[in-house]
């Protein structure tokens, strides 16, 4: 949890950038073309895991003191089964909401990294790369190359965000 606290002080995008840079240093050259996709996945995952850990820890600490857990313990159910079968389903609600919001964030981060030229290699498709290419043509008046992929990205992210909002409302029993 200390590690999580330390990581939480840095924005995800910086961490992703750093991991990407270090990975590029380790693999280098041609290997990077092949591994870029996986490096990107790992760096995004490593930058976002903290929020899940924090949230689940928080709600688990609330849940574990509830009566149904005590009851299960009194009957003599092993701790592992209590954790997996009883507590886990009850802490998954917030995780789902964070997952959708983080999905939007991950899409933006991937596009940003690719736009900056450190994400997907130019040979593989990515909205960020497309926008980066279009950005070079912006000054010659060919605006559509950058603007349309950008709009597609924005609509995608907006939709995921809205989904997250609705999911939060739907999963919150107080609002039902």
């Amino acid at each position: 949890m200390r590690i999580a606290d330390i990581q939480l002080t840095f924005p995800a995008i910086l961490i992703a950038l750093l991991i990407d840079g270090v990975a590029a240093g380790i693999f280098g050259g041609i290997d990077r073309e092949i591994f870029a996709f996986y490096i990107l996945i790992v760096s995004l995952a490593l930058s976002f895991w903290v929020q899940y850990a924090r949230t689940v820890r928080g709600s688990t600490m609330v849940e574990k003191n509830k009566e149904y857990v005590q009851a299960a313990r009194v009957i003599g159910i092993p701790a592992v089964i209590i954790m997996v079968r009883h507590i886990l389903p009850n802490v998954m609600g917030p995780v789902l909401v964070i997952a959708t919001i983080n999905l939007a964030l991950a899409i933006v981060t991937e596009a940003t990294l690719s736009f900056l030229g450190v994400g997907m290699p130019p040979t593989q498709p990515s909205l960020g790369t497309l926008i980066a290419i279009g950005n070079d043509f912006l000054y010659s008046g060919e605006w559509w190359i950058a603007i349309f992929p950008g709009l597609a990205l924005a609509i995608l992210v907006l939709n995921v965000n809205l989904l997250g909002d609705w999911l939060r409302d739907a999963l919150n029993p107080k609002l039902r």
């Binding site: 002080t9 840095f10 280098g28 596009a111 900056l116 000054y139 603007i147 950008g150 907006l158």
Partner: protein
């Protein structure tokens, strides 16, 4: 208070040490520092001599200690790509990043707070709903795309504002250069600061709106109204004051992200700041610059967190009682 501050200070120092360890590991083990420094034709004996001279054969803890001592004196080694001391490179670029971050924070506060107050006080008006929809779109648009849109609109189509660089700068003192004193410098600041500040602005607006809605329902506001105080006084003296505590915290913490997101904005606008240099370092695997940037931003973040914690403590009297 002093106990709280010391505890926080010790925590901050531990964080810095961990980050330093990370930076050192990167510096030492990602790629061979010697290979980056010398040409292909250098013989193995010469490489060994250089290795010995730089102390790369010493035990790892000794090397780490040396790294930390040097870093504390702002000596981060020599950049692989520029062949210049990293500290000099950073000194040249820090003013650009700090001025940009300051302007965007100012923009976010000056625009975000009034919008938030308005949306909080008139929650059902059409304008408030518009503010909210705009802010949702603002959160969904990636920073770099906002930059591209602004460049397309104001630089390419309307040709009002420059799309790259800092404009003319004036030198103050031995190393600080400022763009605040020339017309072209100020003009160059407009688009990047809006790009960088937009996200923070929507955040501040939403936060103030939510806080306002909460506070306006409380008993003391009802009481102030019952006393017959004018609306203006109730809203600004009583309600706003109590919404400011979380805003100060969030703004303080967001200062760090502003500096981090400056990397993206600086790339879009070719702004000669630290972020742009860091990004070029990532692309060229220039490890000394990367580890120095990691240490510098970590230091900024830790310092900001520390100050925010202390400020929170000073602002909110409830934190002072009941703490050991």
């Amino acid at each position: 208070m002093i106990g709280f501050a010391t505890r926080r200070l010790i925590q901050a120092m531990i964080v810095m040490l961990v980050v330093a360890l990370l930076a050192f590991t990167m510096f030492r083990f990602v790629g061979d520092p010697i290979n980056q420094m010398v040409g292909i034709e250098t013989s193995i004996e010469e490489r060994e001599a250089l290795r010995e001279r730089l102390g790369l054969n010493d035990p790892i803890p000794v090397q780490f200690l040396r790294f930390v001592t040097k870093a504390a004196q702002f000596d981060f080694g020599t950049s692989y790509q520029f062949r210049q001391p990293v500290s000099e490179l950073f000194a040249k670029r820090i003013p650009a990043t700090l001025e940009l971050s300051f302007m965007s924070a100012l923009f976010a506060l000056v625009v975000g707070i009034p919008m938030g107050i308005y949306a909080g006080l008139n929650r059902d008006s059409a304008i408030s709903k518009m503010f909210l929809s705009v802010s949702l779109i603002g959160i969904s648009l990636p920073t770099f795309f906002i930059g591209i849109l602004l460049i397309f609109l104001f630089s390419v189509t309307l040709q009002w504002l420059p799309s790259f660089g800092r404009g003319e700068t004036v030198q103050i003192g031995s190393w600080w250069t400022t763009g605040f004193l020339t017309v072209s410098g100020l003009k160059a600041l407009v688009l990047p600061s809006i790009t960088l500040g937009l996200y923070q602005m929507t955040l501040i607006m939403r936060l103030i709106r939510a806080e306002m809605l909460e506070v306006i329902r409380t008993d003391y506001i009802k009481f102030a109204r019952a006393r017959g105080l004018p609306d203006r006084l109730v809203h600004f003296r009583h309600a706003l004051k109590n919404t400011m505590v979380p805003v100060i915290t969030i703004t303080g913490l967001q200062l760090g992200s502003i500096i981090a997101f400056a990397t993206i904005t600086e790339t879009v606008f070719q702004w000669p700041g630290m972020g742009l240099m860091f990004l070029q370092a990532v692309q060229n695997v220039d490890i000394p610059i990367m580890s120095a940037y990691l240490l510098l931003t970590a230091f900024l973040f830790v310092a900001i967190n520390f100050i925010v914690d202390i400020m929170y403590f000073l602002i909110d009297p409830r934190l002072r009682v009941g703490r050991p």
